[in-house]
Symmetry: D2
Subunit: 371 residues, 4 copies
């Protein structure tokens, strides 16, 4: 029988986080994934938990991100228990590098508002990370911004959800969502139709279709990101390096992940020669001996971008039991835990923090992001 | 501008064959592919052109298949010219093995109807293919049933189509097809909407959704097929071996492809342990020294099966300018060339062979296939 | 300049463990690896730390193995610190399954000698691991036999060694080892010759050549092992399952590793069809729903086997400063830590435990292993 | 029994070409390959048959290369027959581009000596290859310089050799070659020792070791070459483009291969970030829309370079029955056929062309190449 309490469209990290939280509460959950779980943006992500480094204002979005970041510490153990998958949480912090004096100044400025952030002058940075170019002017040290392995987090959520009874259907695109009764939605797929009491649209940038189809004004645009990984016996990095929307993440398996280009309105998911070249150009001045490092792999993914850069996590403006959890742009890995509990609380009608409900609602007033 | 003469849903070998024929005639063609071109059943196929070995009745379907098979010889050169891709046509024929006396008898029987087929007694077979088990009773020799590389054919069609101006959109699933005006269809995708004068539904087993959605009674079921490839310096095979829905194809790159299991109603596209094991069990008795061969890769794909085992190539029962080209089941590689020219002739309103139009029409009377 | 204190031939887990221990003591170390580090047996291993499950006698070999197993807990943190690589230590124990009554009896018997082992009757086993066949008779529960990721351990040793100044030369086969002066050996490679004061032969089964060449009576034979990995949302296993030289290891990344065949005197390193089939046949009765699991990868490696099944860790019988550390057969991952410290102690002339020196010496009296 | 007429050290394209020619003559041949066949420089090569484009003087080397190039046409059919492997011979010629006026002049000059070469002015080039930058000044058109797939050629030689009874031992490094009797050499490997009447040293750049070991003055140095492949529906190229030691080869499978960097004295076989970047920088100005092409793979290999840039194909200066066939530098694919027949003729004591014997002899007077 094809009836479920909740149908989740999209099996990326966001869909799986939601599935996990709801299945744990005993709901009958089904996740529809058109490809394989995590094969969208999730598998392309570097996995930084950049609450402090990525977000610039001390607003609701920032607190939400910090809460989500903190949840990872508990989740790490919880998911290991239910799924036996280790999400590869690494907690060595991050250096946000200043390459010019004016950058140095503006970065130093931010330490005033953030307790968890310190300014490290050039000599300390070079002492801690001797592979970094001595052209830098210093760096912001952000101890709380660690990283995880996104594909492991996603798989761990999925396996834990299925441990609690969730059904996860790979190779199953949702073609259409229709309201068929007061509290029933029909989700059509090439295999079969399914009915669900609640529906969560969580299929990353491809959610854009359902915004249109379900009469929501706003929408999403892809910002393609290209990455590569390398290996080197000569390069030791303890902290993630961050500079100019670009980063080098020392993963716990000996690889370094470098990302990511920003290509607007490109829906293709393969790295281009030009994209990878632009990364090379940015990264070589920062880490000069990278030139002799072994190039391992290149890949790309699509960040789901909204007009104001904040995700949509909330109810359909008019329809009951229809939710959206998408548009996580550059920070979906960071935001996945808290997105999962927030959607859970909507569906279970638990109280929510008002400021988050407003910040991420579908009918908020959008202030176009400046980029 | 998002308007085209013809929109083709599905970028497998069928969609690309159609795109090629129409673009060559100067039409403005767009192909929508949800993943990458050829990543559906096409890339899983062994590529046999088994007109004689696969089809059992001397009917319209058989003549269609033979015509399609013959087209490959000309296509091979044509596609090389436009795309520079070599489709790896190999024309050494096939042995359909008899493992029991009764099989031998029934195979020998078929030589009466087919001129192009000979019976080879056991000693000749073993002389020609010394690696085959001497438990066989003889084999049908089918010189015309060669093979191609499906993924190369598909890529060559696509590149040749784009040579003639076709637009091929990867990573672009069609979510919905709607008639919006007398001679205009709207195709909705997560990126954008497109309008097309003609639409061809050619997305393999996933076409099933559009049968429902567009009000066609019939439909498709997947029959999953699992395969593996191996390599061996000891095994020399000149001809394809065929036995009990199973085959061993000596490819022109030194690999041998073995296929394929038959799993009904399974929509997953990864090989299972049980599926691969069942192939091992079938193939070891036929080619005993395969046990020491190097196992290379395993994979799976979904054959789009119709109720009577014949494809749907034709018009929508009531709507104008809406075509289907799907359901090619076990023989889509073989049938791709002729499917392309047949759909072209529909759209260009050229005369068609009546018997083919009837045999593959969407509202033909279905006689359930016996399996 | 090509002179070093210690030259280590072979960059598998054994060579890297030794390099790490010596570099940490300040010696100038060079590791020669003909291919890439860890690409020999090390990368093929399942990574079980099977001190209790693999070894049958309560002898010196057993104590050595237990010490090595325990070292992993400290190493895990140490290597993370120096290399930032997480060796994926999982410590959930193992079930050694009894499939017949007589096996049950003999396994129960072993609990008498080993404190760290418990007998679990069938119902407890099935309660703890519900995916196991209910044909079993019970199982030995071995809480101390966990597992690591061999390739990560090897990479972590290598990176930590290079952190302490060791030179690691990939793509550099040692062709010949010659004594050129009283305390100098020349190691010839296609690139250049190197001189070293001490030499450690640690190139796995390929060490066999240097036994002959350097006049040692004993030698090594390969026992090829074939493996595969699978994935399944339905199968949950907490503990490693062990039965009949075969095992299923639930890795911390969601994959399960199944191994391994035992093929004597086969030097090839690719899995054969027959080898993988033999694993399928063994494993399906134990874990019936494995048939629908996704088959991921297959691979093979060569276990370096000695005549009595124990490794050679010690000095050349007559030449000074020439050491062997090889022949670790089925347990090189388990034994790597302690092998590293033992060779370190030889070279630094520290006191050793006599019983280990004797047990693993090159001129011990060999008692042929019964298999 | 481990005795053979001829032992060939190295299973790259050179070793396999020799093995094929000798096995076809009925000799008992064994090939020793330390890794898998073709995994050295052979698998890294682009496969150009650049007799006219690569060689600058109208000397013996040039005639040898032209003869070898011509042999490919016959070999193509022959190898298909014996091995069923298609070597992917493509014969659309090459454009050697002039980027400056002075290059244009010097290239035009070469047409005087070479009949088979034409000068194409800019407009003709752009007409034939519209994707090329219009910054070029014209190009030399070299119709005879086609290309093959090196790994398929190597596999086809190997399979054809084994068809004629040759033994090919993968995973079998030769550690040492010793003369043990008047007409007997012993080849030692980790598995076993072998005796052979004739020995051919053909292990690419790694032959360097045997030059030293066997008392030959000369030697080899690696020149590492890094490559990448890309795919693009927008780029159509019919001919290979060649410019400044760099090339873009349109392969018959839809990929384009771009090569290759030139890194002297680097023995590593993985592409570095700096190497790939240097290719990007060279190729983007030539083919501007390459920036949006999909980057597929990157790889590297070692060209075996001699002091004067010509291969060593001949006898050991003093020892009987000991041959070298190595040092093929940038052109080993091109030169493989003729190298095979030349070594065959040495061993079978057939007459040879004197000028070739002299040109490639081991004790020729070396004139250092200018680079
Ligand atoms: C290069 C790059 C680097 C990044 N780095 C970071 C980082 O370091 N830290 C961080 O926090 N974030 C990072 N991100 C952002 C992060 O990856 C995304 O915000 C996050 O993965 C979004 O998750 P998702 O589940 O919403 O989308 P996705 O992972 O894209 O998942 C959506 C899923 O829906 C499926 N789907 C699509 N259509 C349908 C349909 N019709 N029916 C069913 N299923 C469907 C898709 O196949 C896909 O699996 C990065 C992104 C990129 C591209
Ligand atoms: C194991 C196996 C072996 C086979 N061997 C042979 C053989 O030897 N000879 C032979 O003739 N045939 C063989 N076949 C059959 C043959 O592969 C198929 O009949 C043929 O590939 C069908 O082609 P297609 O283009 O219709 O489908 P597909 O190749 O499946 O292409 C359909 C495409 O549509 C895309 N798509 C799906 N939904 C959408 C959407 N909503 N919007 C846009 N795109 C969409 C998919 O991603 C896919 O790429 C074999 C099949 C299998 C599985
Ligand atoms: C299928 C399988 C499963 C296994 N499972 C386990 C397990 O679960 N637990 C466990 O403890 N053990 C296991 N083992 C055993 C374990 O893998 C080995 O004992 C261990 O890897 C041996 O390490 P090594 O460094 O001696 O050899 P290797 O890892 O083989 O390393 C030797 C290295 O020497 C290099 N080399 C060779 N010749 C030369 C030369 N002339 N010059 C320079 N370098 C050279 C090789 O390239 C290689 O990298 C398993 C083995 C196999 C095959
Ligand atoms: C990037 C690149 C591009 C190139 N492009 C072209 C081109 O377009 N056209 C062209 O003509 N040429 C090209 N070349 C040159 C060509 O690849 C080489 O000249 C040719 O492959 C040399 O063949 P080989 O058999 O001598 O060496 P290899 O292919 O290197 O084979 C030597 C073999 O010996 C094995 N071996 C090593 N040591 C031992 C041992 N002790 N015992 C046993 N086996 C051993 C190795 O594993 C290897 O497989 C290119 C080379 C590179 C690197």
């Amino acid at each position: 029988m094809n009836h479920y309490d909740v149908g989740i469209v999209g099996g990326g990290i966001i869909g799986q986080s939601i599935a996990y939280q709801l299945a744990k509460e005993g709901l009958a959950v089904v996740v529809f994934e058109s490809n394989r779980i995590g094969k969208g943006a999730t598998s392309a992500a570097a996995g930084m938990l950049g609450a402090n480094s990525e977000l610039e204002n001390n607003d609701a979005f920032f607190s939400f991100a910090k809460e989500s970041q903190r949840q990872y510490h508990k989740l790490c153990e919880e998911l290991l228990q239910y799924s036996q998958i280790n999400i590869q949480l690494v907690d060595n912090g991050m250096y946000k590098l200043a390459l010019t004096d004016s950058e140095a100044e503006s970065l130093q400025h931010t330490t005033k508002h953030h307790q968890a952030i310190e300014w490290h002058p050039k000599d300390i940075v070079l002492n801690n990370e001797p592979n970094v170019t001595n052209e830098i002017k210093g760096a912001l040290y952000i101890p709380e911004d660690g990283h995880v392995s996104p594909i492991h987090v996603c798989a761990a959520f999925a396996k834990s959800a299925s441990h609690f009874g969730a059904t996860i259907l790979e190779n199953t695109p949702v073609q259409r969502i229709q309201k068929v009764a007061n509290d029933e939605y029909r989700l059509s797929t090439p295999h079969a139709n399914f009915t669900c009491e609640h529906v969560v649209v969580a299929n990353g940038v491809w959610s854009n279709y359902f915004f249109n189809e379900l009469g929501v004004q706003s929408g999403l645009k892809p910002v393609k990101g290209e990455c590569f990984s390398f290996q080197s016996s000569e390069i030791h990095l303890e902290r993630t390096l961050f500079f100019d929307h670009c980063y080098i993440v020392p993963k716990g398996d000996g690889r370094f992940v470098v990302g990511a280009s920003m290509v607007e309105n490109d829906w293709s998911t393969e790295p281009t020669l030009g994209g990878i070249q632009s990364l090379f150009e940015k990264v070589i001045p920062i880490l000069p001996n990278i030139k002799s490092a072994k190039l391992l792999e290149t890949w790309a993914g699509l960040r789901p971008q909204t007009d104001d850069g904040k995700p949509y996590i909330g109810k359909h403006p008019t329809e009951e039991n229809l939710y959206f959890a998408t548009g996580h742009y550059r920070n979906g890995i960071l935001l996945a835990p808290k997105t999962g509990t927030m959607i859970r609380d909507f569906i279970l009608k638990r109280t929510q923090q008002e400021e988050y409900v407003n910040a991420f609602s579908l009918d908020r007033k959008l202030v176009k992001m400046m980029r």
